[in-house]
Amino acid sequence: MPALSSTMTEGKIVEWLKKPGDPVARGESVLVVESDKADMDVEAFQEGFLAAVLMPAGESAPVGETIGLIVETEAEIAAAQASAPSSSAAAVAAPSKPPAAATAPVKPAAEPAPAAKALVAPVAASPATAPVAEMSNATTTAANGRLVATPRAKKLAKQLGVALESLRGSGPHGRIQAEDVERASGQPLSVPRVSEGSSSYAPATAALAGNGASAAGAAGAAPLGQAFGSPGETVAFNTLQQAVIRNMAASLTVPCFHVGYTITTDRFDAFYKQVKAKGVTMTALLAKAVAVVLARHPQVNAAYSEAGMAYPASVNVAVAVAMDDGGLLTPVLANADKTDLYSLSRSWADLVARSRTKQLKPAEYSTGTFTLSNLGMYGVDRFDAILPPGTGAILAVAASRPCVVAASDGSISVKRQMQVNLTADHRVIYGTHGAAFLKDLAALIETDPESLAL
């Protein structure tokens, strides 16, 4: 059930415009959802077949609920119908802004694991959203001797001139994976996949329009964890990895400590949903929040230097970004406290695009005065970060998740909460500084996120 409004909690299925078994074209309306006095046609974002309707017309479903399944080929309909609705799925179709989300060519498969795509809309992801595990690639299975390869494998085979027919697929039921093509061509995959602290990149999360989680072009990633080498190998460090080693080792000379805080994000999440439509990214929003609070806590923006405590002239928030080739970059949003959210979002998109192609100038990744590291999109509930050299503090942001919360008056409620964890250089930043900073940050996120748009 797609979210058609930030205030929509459930929607009523007015009508299924397609019957199970019907083919659906990309962009074709599949059903009509009503919320309040507004109707919206919900469209499919890739072609296939409506395999199953899990929620009949006339029923209401909470936002995010799986209401139907779409499969790629007619042959998969039966399998999709047989597999439980809860089987993993890439969500399909939602009316909201297709572009980002829809582009990921997620392909459903008939078999157990990556099954049909669920017709749902994940509720907007804030720093949170536990990513639905990877399913991007599964193409269909050939019991009938038909050549089966993932879309990415097909694309790669074309690029690298590998004949798919000559390959033996390592995927489920012999499906040819990108890795198989890569192995056959002797070429390593070298598309830097940038993973950064924004819900705009959720590793092939259910692609769903409009709402949070967009599946970045994570086509290749298999359900496996990423590795730099293969089992049995020892791989020499590349330049980027050597840089990481130097920075990590340098951090051992810094006496660091950690302070954590649990922040309720319902209001922040709601605000994010509002501004997301205007192109604001979670990364920009978090960076802005941190920057505004840093401006009021200059001590936490300070760093150790030989000459003494160094107070930077501006608040430059760096955001940690992991590259697939082992690099760790920290593109910088300069003057983030004084820059409006929309400009920050645009700058961030530009920085990420250029970091993928390694076109960042040194000043664009080395002038951070404070660093933000967000792993929320992986669903982690807490972690701590290592301090980048030359700065005084880094904030680790985990996923925001629904939690049962007891208030001081004894009442119990469910709220979305995320843990943040500050790592700070105790030569410059003391426990009280860190604590006061986190308290203010929490207050801003919990009670006044709207002020970030001003």
Binding site: L4, S5, M8, E15, E34, D36, D39, P95, Q274
Partner: protein, 225 residues
Amino acid sequence: MNSRLDAILFDPISIVPFQLAWGWQRVLQARLLADSSGPEALLLVQHPDCYTLGRGASEQHLRFDPAAAPAPLFRIDRGGEVTHHLPGQLVAYPVLNLSRHGADLHLYLRELEAAVLDVLAVLGLAGERIEGLTGVWLEGQKVAAFGVGARRWISQHGLALNVNCDLSGFGAIAPCGLIDRPVGRLCDWIPGLLPEQVQPLLQQALASRFGLTLRSPTLAERLWR
């Protein structure tokens, strides 16, 4: 806050049959679907006597046999229950690309309500919203009804504001599915008020709420001769 958006105003002088205006809306919607950066549009009309049902509406709210309706009955692609249109009621159909207006259907309904509240304020009337009952209310009577539909965030349908229409036709239905809430009209507060006096106010309020710069259609954009 956002730059003024180009929008075409269609305000035919004569009373427009429902199907005709619905057809126009679909043309306008199709144009925006084909070119999502194209101009938005605002259609301001009055309809002859008719009843319309939202796509998910229940026929239980009709107090007549749908096969023998007292006036033409249309089941249409909008949200909401049954409503009644007739001369003396101003109907506004904004065909907007809601992605430019927050991409939020509830927000859109609230903005439409706000536009009507603006109109009432200009007339010196204190309209109000009732939480959970989309509409604009004056002293407990519903003076404006809302129902919208959207495809890829391109809206159609909109709002109906009762100015000096005959209210007896509402007796044949439970408007919007509400049984014990009376329907009202502005002329009961401001005697002698005419739709043509309210229309410019509504046009102005909608334009300002949605940041539209309204203009006449070009020759190619015309919906009728």
